[in-house]
Symmetry: C2
């Protein structure tokens, strides 16, 4: 009984081991690898990816999948069924793209990324334009291979947020935009009410690191099953449920750079560290979707670590580590870390304006895929939207339409998941506050374990067992809307900026 | 033309990539991996090893080997031929051991290592004895699978030093022992002539690290194609000719611990960094044998970095980094780093006594394999030999026959390569001094590039192209003997200890 399942699992385990080994090499490339090793490392990464892909798409895998699915006892066991089903789902997806097409994509994406680096450095969109066209052409072809019912965008979005439709995103984003744009205007009209001067200064790197690690530990990140290193761009990666790494970067003159990036990555890491060991070394054993993943990073970064209540607990620790803050009143600090300011750069945006950056990208992707926006007109369209939503026009393309790596790497349909994550985080948090009425009171005492336990129970442990849309409903009680997020913004920032109402 | 060779090479490249990925995971396990990841990492290492092994021993590999060997143009090209031949040699060896036997060895060795750790901690040989018996039984069976002509030991030694015979080792060692034992006695009689007090003190870790890296760079180690990290036991590993890592450990109270271990590993690393890129990603693209590898680590550690001439250059740097040495006369320091003292622990032994430690192990391995020494009598035999050769008796087995990891890991036939390395290093160095008459004068000026260039030309670049015994003859002009090493010891230490003529 379960013999076929065991055979399938053994195969999935080995594939997972190769994927995790690939992740180790990728992490090491960003953290410690000497520059001279770039070529050999990329060859190694290529070989491991190829081996993993070949092992997974092999006929032998399909045979085992079918045999395991035919085992009644296996499929009656919900966790085993989740392993078989997710593997089958991935198998089906992997087989939709012909291998020559995958190779072509990899090649073109890689060349496009090099062109993008060059174009951004020179701030010349025209150097990137032909590659952007190629990447959108490839995305269109990929969408055709994947298939879709209503909109070509759905096929692409489905890679990152399975089951989510562009029509739903359009609706949700419309609500959000309608409420956010006036809110931003109201805040800008009172921008003198909040200053972040106290966050600029001289903050020793080691002191910042020690503090960030201390806070991360208090939130529940397990350093025995993870570690933190420095990279140019912070990220979270995992090589096992028991080996979930985060990275950060430092700016000795600005407090936010390290602290909040660490808490963001800790949010991702808590998700991966919380997946049930029953799914270890299988495709089910990781976060469910990009949106749900981002909901966790944003919950810990913003709803926990940018809350007034948490700083009741953390502020004394901060003042001890960096005594200069003793001169800053608590309220000044709390407002400073929540300062809202329309800006050109997405990754530096605050909670209120962040989603406007995403909408620009989503709307432009839709327009390009629909053929309504020509590649050559991208900078103009970008700048017009920034003026429209944020009241700013980039002085050049480097800080405008060339700022993000995504399009150069072929990640089209990816951006909405950032905003979906924000929305999910608040909708879920509202539900948690109903289940744990004194939740934010607990934060004042440095107690985050009930929050983590809730997330573990309702989200983390399940890995990819449930479809994202189902999981959102299970964990928040309803389908996703922008309403909780809008209410949250109005309440929190209305308070901070004294907007009345 | 060369089409079959290209196909073979592509396969060898992928296998090499997997092996190097395995090495990255192994290195990371020792350097940065959090403790909780131990289980998952060992599964990943197991899977990668299995995949690499399966790819290599596959029928498809044999077909490609035969097809490439049948290509006249390929085999006329000496470097291509070296790739085909070494791969064939490894293939033949890999096929000599049945896969169930390999799995049994891996399992028993792993259990034996755990038993050894426990036995050493408790200093109870009897806890390890049954496992040592199992490992020697397995070694005997492996030797039978490999086959041998004269002595069972030859089959085991051949894994580490291909082509070397135990009879030759016995002869060389006899000479060495006959000359070393009286030399040690003479030195001990004048032990008050050298003190290493100046090497004990308080030496800041970062200062030691900076100095070691500076010296390593001056010797020629390329940090753009390598890096140095901390581990419990220093080692050198490589993931490419362009990615050769070293590790070290530190003792803030004893200067030698880090400095000379770094120079030792740098010697290994210079070898790997110097292999021709024509052999990159093939089995030919690494050092030729353990003895030749050790000859490089010992040459840079001892013949370069423990020489009076090199310290003429380095001593001012040392005094600048650690000003306490300004109080130590140059000659006192030079003698201190060359202090000879019979001791119980191999890894701490000096140039004179080191080989006596190896002889004890080699003679006991021979006796055990010949059935002349019973496992239960190992401690007694060990202690008797230590008394005989070094004038010391271990107070317990932890510092006696349980001190080394090798036998627990199944590395039987490995020890002689350490001494062979020492002997090769001096025999080669004598030859180099003939080719570069002012070699050691160059050291005084901090010039090590001619030495490195010589090694690159005569040894490093060739990787595994030549058989070790051939390469020793090519690089030193004659077959290996103990004579140059004995002469070196007598001259150097006769001088340091003032032993006269």
């Amino acid at each position: 009984m379960g013999q076929q399942f065991d055979l399938l699992k053994a195969r999935l385990n080995e594939i997972s081991d190769v994927n995790h080994a690939t992740a180790v090499l990728g992490w090491e490339q960003e953290t410690y690898m000497p520059s001279g090793a770039a070529k050999s490392r990329s060859e190694q990464l290529g070989t491991l990816s190829k081996i993993s892909h070949e092992m997974f798409v092999a006929q032998a895998t399909l045979k085992l999948l079918k045999a395991a699915a035919a085992e009644q006892d296996t499929m009656k066991n919900a966790k085993k069924a989740a392993i078989v089903n997710i593997a089958q789902q991935d198998y089906d997806r992997a087989h939709k793209l012909p291998s020559e097409f995958v190779a072509e994509m990899a090649r073109v994406n890689s060349q496009a990324t090099h062109a993008w680096i060059d174009a951004r450095r020179q701030s010349k969109f025209e150097l990137f334009a032909p590659w952007l066209k190629k990447n959108f052409d490839l995305a269109r072809r990929a969408a055709d291979y994947f298939g879709y019912q209503d909109h070509i965008y759905d096929a692409l979005l489905d890679q990152y947020e399975p089951g989510m439709k562009s029509a739903e995103v359009t609706n949700i984003f419309a609500d959000l935009r309608d409420q956010t744009v006036p809110l931003v205007k109201a805040i800008v009209a009172h921008k003198d009410r909040v200053s972040d001067d106290c966050l600029h200064g001289q903050f020793d790197k080691q002191v910042q690191e020690d503090l960030a690690k201390k806070v991360a530990t208090q939130l529940g990140y397990d350093f025995n099953r993870g570690r933190m290193d420095y990279t140019a761009h912070p990220f979270c990666t995992h090589f096992s449920i028991d080996d979930v790494r985060i990275t950060t970067r430092t700016d000795e003159t600005m407090f936010n750079t390290m602290f909040f990036s660490v808490m963001h990555e800790v949010g991702h890491a808590l998700y991966e560290q919380g997946v049930s060991h029953d799914y270890e070394r299988t495709p089910t054993g990781t976060g469910c979707s990009l949106g749900l993943h981002e909901s966790q990073s944003r919950m810990w970064e913003n709803l926990v670590c940018r809350s007034r209540e948490s700083w009741v607990h953390f502020y004394p620790q901060l003042c001890e580590a960096l005594p200069v803050f003793k001169q800053t009143p608590f309220d000044t600090f709390y407002k400073a870390i929540n300062k809202v300011e329309p800006s050109l750069i997405r990754v530096e945006a605050d909670e209120v304006t962040y989603n406007l950056h995403i909408m620009v990208r989503f709307e432009m992707e839709m327009a390009m895929l629909e053929g309504k926006l020509k590649i050559k007109d991208v900078p103009e369209a970008w700048n017009a939207k920034y003026q429209d939503y944020l009241g700013l026009t980039p002085e050049n393309d480097a800080v405008g339409c060339l700022q993000d790596v995504h399009w150069s790497g072929g990640l089209i349909g990816y951006f909405p998941t950032y905003t979906l994550g924000n929305l999910i985080s608040v909708q879920m948090f509202e539900r948690i506050k109903k289940d744990i009425p004194d939740l934010t009171e607990q934060f004042k005492r440095g107690e985050f374990s009930q929050l983590l336990a809730w997330l573990r129970k309702h989200l983390h442990q399940h890995g990819r067992r449930y479809a994202p849309t189902d999981l959102i409903k299970r964990a928040t009680g309803k389908a996703l809307t922008a309403k909780p997020y809008i209410a949250y913004l109005k309440s929190k920032f209305g308070d901070i900026y004294g907007l009345g109402g």
